[in-house]
Subunit: 330 residues, 2 copies
């Protein structure tokens, strides 16, 4: 049950710094844009697609929020690998190798970070193949980049959602609120290696079977914030029914719905799906233990609207203000 | 002319933190090592080689020392791209794309970093295709990762120097001490795009023509420190004649020889070369405006010895203590 009003939930999502801290991205894109023929897709997607002869390579980078690193360095190290593996999976790709860049102030923290990275690297079978170390930093920072491969014909993008497509959210609910971080849902440390690898491979299947029009892994901005980023890149809007968003028993775990929709779900994707493929997409997610549901529809309004009963609220009017502020001709 | 004694120069190199800060690398390698069949070479080389079907991919990461970022954010941004391009070039590869991870405390610094990154990206024609931004960091950090490609058959490694091979150092002397950083020699900002791209491509030619047994780009540890890292990975030693190391007119620019050998040369490589190929290697470097010289020989002693006149000093006894402390069975 959704116990807050749509206005309250929209406010909570808009004000959440997991969302607001995405705003400076557009300016950076402007500064660095260099047109080259072999990079058909770059900023705004989870990974850049680089054409290398006939094959496609994916390159992505992610840093770990210092808030998480302070709270739990082991989990931060685990997440550094997890979020990068998700960036490649979200594009329908196969992760190949990771490099890490560690700034280390405190060697105990460093050991825990490395332990977490190693565990995730082994669990997802993606080796950490090198990197760089700043041994004398003023603060601890973990940055990770990942290489993947994808057949460009079957890649999944963020900018290709189509009007009228259904929106499917899929989250692994067999988890827990992470003990160190109330805004992280953790299923990946509890699942076996085979289980998490199967979950990651679903996106590859969605790509090769051409079942989705666009997709993204659900990251720090949560399910609605991530959908907003996808819509911004696609220059579309959406109408989302809050009651349909997959969720665990919130009363049992003692959190509110507006808390849940802001969480980083650990293993979650949001995809846009032509109506005829929705059943197959739900079935594939469900086959790997992920709760998936049709939560709404893509519109041409460039507004992300949430609905609950008869009430509805515009969370983002992307024509007026984007979440990332990505330049319009990108 | 070398005006210090070999002992003084050896002390200066050993004590230089550009060298000493490499020591924690071995421990990190131990923590993260995951054996996977598609990664024949990883830690200890400038980039990891990843087998992707028949082709080879290179993945490397480098961070920019906060000391440089504080001194000159534009130059730090330029260097972030420069050092990563060098990591791929050093392997005989072709750089394809870069991702950056910026931690930003101060937006003025960020703008200058981006300006420097963009200039280098355009000059070397390697696009920055994405990345991650921490907009609310406690300090400014630039980390960059790079993807390249190489035919595995023609890749240049660090661990393959052979006993009796000659050592060639090549540095672009048409430069200046960087005004913001006394330990950086800068030629790349002064050269045209065509010139720097030709210098980068020389390593690719050395690889495809099978002219070198091993190689590395000269980085923060300077020419002797970088050679030491190559020898550590190859489990070899060397005897180096200091008088033969390429240098600008040191009196004219007002620095001492021990300062010069610790400098980051901006565009420099050290390669090991079977005797019969030395002339051709010198010719190729010289053809792109780089001063190259045969500076010594690879030995089986695992000691890096510098010589000047009749004096000689062991700078590193790599059997006793490695520069990186890389595990022996790596």
């Amino acid at each position: 049950m959704v116990e807050c009003s749509t206005d309250e939930i929209a406010d909570a999502i808009r004000a959440y710094d997991g969302v607001t801290r995405k705003r400076a991205i557009g300016e950076i894109i402007e500064s660095l844009r260099l047109v080259t023929p072999n990079v058909p897709v770059s900023f705004g997607d989870d990974a850049a697609l680089i054409q290398n002869g006939d094959s496609g390579l994916l390159l992505a980078a992610d840093g770990i929020w210092s808030r998480l690193l302070d709270a739990d360095p082991y989990w931060a190290g685990f997440c550094a690998v997890l979020v990068n593996v998700h960036d490649i999976a979200a594009m329908g790709g196969t992760p190949l190798a990771i490099v890490d860049i560690l700034s280390v102030k405190d060697s105990d923290v460093c050991h825990e970070v490395l332990r977490g990275m190693y565990e995730a690297s082994a669990k997802f079978c993606v080796p950490v193949v090198g990197g760089h170390l700043h041994p004398d930093a003023e603060m601890n920072v973990i940055d990770v980049a990942i290489l993947g491969s994808v057949n460009p014909e079957y890649a999944i993008f963020s900018h290709t959602a189509g009007e009228g497509d259904r929106i499917v959210a899929a989250i692994d609910l067999e988890g827990r609120i992470h003990p160190s971080c109330a805004l992280n849902w953790d299923s990946a440390t509890l699942r076996t290696a085979e289980e998490v690898r199967a979950q990651i491979r679903v996106m590859h299947t969605l790509g090769t079977d051409k079942l989705v029009s666009a997709g993204k892994d659900i990251s720090n901005p949560g399910v609605i914030g991530t959908l907003g980023m996808l819509l911004e890149t696609s220059r579309k809007g959406a109408s989302v029914c809050l009651d349909d968003i997959p969720r665990p028993d919130l009363d049992a775990i003692g959190i509110t719905f507006d808390h849940w929709v802001r969480m980083y779900p650990g293993m979650g994707f949001v995809v846009t799906v032509p109506a005829e493929s929705v059943d197959r997409v739900l079935e594939l997610f469900s086959g790997v233990g992920m709760a998936a549901a049709d939560i709404g529809v893509v519109t041409d309004s460039q507004k992300l609207i949430i609905r609950h009963g008869d009430a509805e609220t515009t969370v983002f009017d992307l024509k007026k203000q984007g979440i990332m502020g990505i330049p319009t001709d990108n």
